[in-house]
């Protein structure tokens, strides 16, 4: 609904962002068509997926697994590609 969105007068000049780290508020997770699913029985907790994820969309759980933050994961599949244990499968969204 266009009328709910701010007028051009309300935006900061040149769209400059004044709050650092605000990218975390952006829901980039709704872009994806595929989502990574981990098979914990194959995972050896090496952290390769976490290192390679270009969007920092993986975080470590208390058990040491790397969980996907689906709000930010764009579904690029790099984690699945890099995992040497083939522990990550890309699954169609909606399945």
């Amino acid at each position: 609904m266009a009328e709910d969105k701010p007028s051009w007068k309300e935006y900061p000049m040149a769209a400059t962002i004044h709050s650092p780290g605000s990218a975390t508020d952006q829901n980039t997770g709704d872009w994806k068509s595929m989502r990574p699913v981990r098979d914990s029985s194959k995972c050896d907790k090496c952290g390769i997926c976490w290192i390679f994820c270009p969007d920092a969309a993986l975080y470590m759980t208390e058990e040491g697994f790397y969980e996907v933050d689906l709000y930010h994961c764009k579904g690029c599949g790099i984690c699945a590609h890099e995992c040497r244990k083939e522990a990550i499968t890309m699954v169609e969204e909606g399945e």
Binding site: K5, P6, S7, W8, K9, Y11, P12, M13, A14, A15, T16, I17, H18, P20, S22
Partner: protein, 391 residues
């Protein structure tokens, strides 16, 4: 109250930048602009100007360095011409899009190919829509004054846009003219230090130039365009303030013998000097001819142009640039569009002249006026004419 000296116009521009106390100069030399930045680098090396002189490997880098410097709040200057300006192209839009008040002198020169180091205005016309404030000087005094004013206009919080001062390559940049150099104290009180609104600061981080999603981009462009349109009033204000301090008056459009004129010549830049002589000569033979010189090109002075042509039968627009495959001259297109909504408007004729360093002579102006007279008598012909071209 300032000192009157004989000075090469390029060096007068350098003097203006020094008087403006620029903090950062990033530039790459290119004919016919080289003298401006050569002199500035000398001033910095000699300790006469307390600025950072950044030597870069291209004009793309020069404009990028200027953007960076302006983004941390420095008063920033560069100069270029022709291919150099063309190489800056994408960064020009970043300077205006990020609202960085960089000031640039352009010693207008033709674009290759064929290679031409000589003057015309096709370089700036190719950057017409880059969102910069664009001014044209006719004289050395004007080149110096506009450069000082450009900083004040660009840095105004109601504007915050880059500004460009065009001086015709060679025909203005390389001539020696009597020029009044204002005193440092006078310039200091006219142009206080730049107080930026937003800067890159590690203590208070901001993101400049983030992604503009489709739901945002249009609003930001509207903002930018409003700032450029709004700069018009600020420019007038700065010119009034300048007249108070320095006694020299500036307007967006300069009138010469326009009273009762039936045919007006419209153009920009140094060759208006020749047009003035031609007007005088034609006036002596009883022809009612005048000159309206466009000083402010962006934002376009719609109202001033509409007022300036009131009562005239025809306006002959002389462009030193050719819009290939289009309507001919970019200045003429603009003027025609500005006059189109008027119920009563003069006939507009378009002439391309002075390309790649070719002179526009007094005789050329006489031909242009005669040709326009012919159009008035016999009706329109071709869209535009190239003056002096050998058939």
């Amino acid at each position: 109250m300032g000192e009157r000296v004989g000075l090469e116009v390029s060096l007068a521009v350098s003097e203006a930048v020094k008087l403006a106390r620029a903090d950062v100069i990033a530039a790459y030399p290119i004919t016919p602009q080289t003298h401006i930045v050569e002199e500035l680098s000398q001033m910095v090396a000699d300790g006469d100007l307390d600025a950072e002189y950044v030597m870069v490997e291209s004009e793309h880098s020069a404009m990028s360095a200027c953007c960076g410097a302006a983004a941390v709040g420095a008063r920033t200057f560069t100069a270029t011409a022709s291919q150099g300006l063309a190489l800056m192209h994408e960064v020009l839009f970043i300077a205006s899009g990020l609202r960085l008040p960089v000031v640039m002198a352009v010693a207008n020169r033709a674009l290759s190919a064929p290679i031409s180091i000589w003057g015309d205005q096709s370089d700036v016309m190719s950057e017409r829509d880059s969102g910069w404030i664009q001014l044209f000087a006719e004289t050395g005094q004007e080149a110096l004054d506009l450069t000082i004013q450009a900083f004040k206009i660009a840095e105004d919080r109601r504007v915050l846009l880059p500004a460009e001062v065009n001086i015709d390559g060679f025909t203005l940049s390389h001539v020696v003219e009597p020029i009044v150099i204002p005193g440092q104290e006078e310039v200091d009180s006219f142009l206080p230090p730049y107080e930026p609104q937003v800067i890159l600061d590690p203590e208070k981080p901001v993101t400049m130039g983030p992604v503009g999603f489709p739901e945002l981009y249009t609003e930001i462009k509207k903002q930018q365009n409003e700032a450029l349109l709004g700069s018009y009033e600020v420019i007038l204000e700065v010119w009034d303030r300048f007249a108070e301090s320095f006694g020299r008056k500036y307007r967006p459009v300069e009138h010469y013998r326009t009273e009762d004129a039936e045919i007006l010549i419209n153009m920009a830049g140094a060759m208006s000097g020749t047009a003035r002589i031609a007007v005088d000569m034609m006036r002596e033979t009883g022809k009612k001819v005048g000159l309206i010189r466009t000083r402010l090109w962006r934002p376009y002075p719609f109202d001033e142009i509409r007022n300036a042509v009131k009562g005239a039968k025809a306006v002959a627009v002389v462009d030193r640039a050719l819009s290939f495959g289009g309507q001919g001259g970019p200045m003429c297109s603009e003027l025609r569009s500005a006059l189109y909504p008027l119920a009563e408007k003069p006939v507009v004729t378009s002439y391309i002249a002075g390309l790649g360093g070719r002179d526009i002579t007094v005789e050329n102006f006489q031909t242009i006026v005669e040709d326009t007279g012919d159009v008035l008598a016999n009706g329109p012909r071709e869209e535009y004419k190239m003056i002096g071209v050998r058939e």
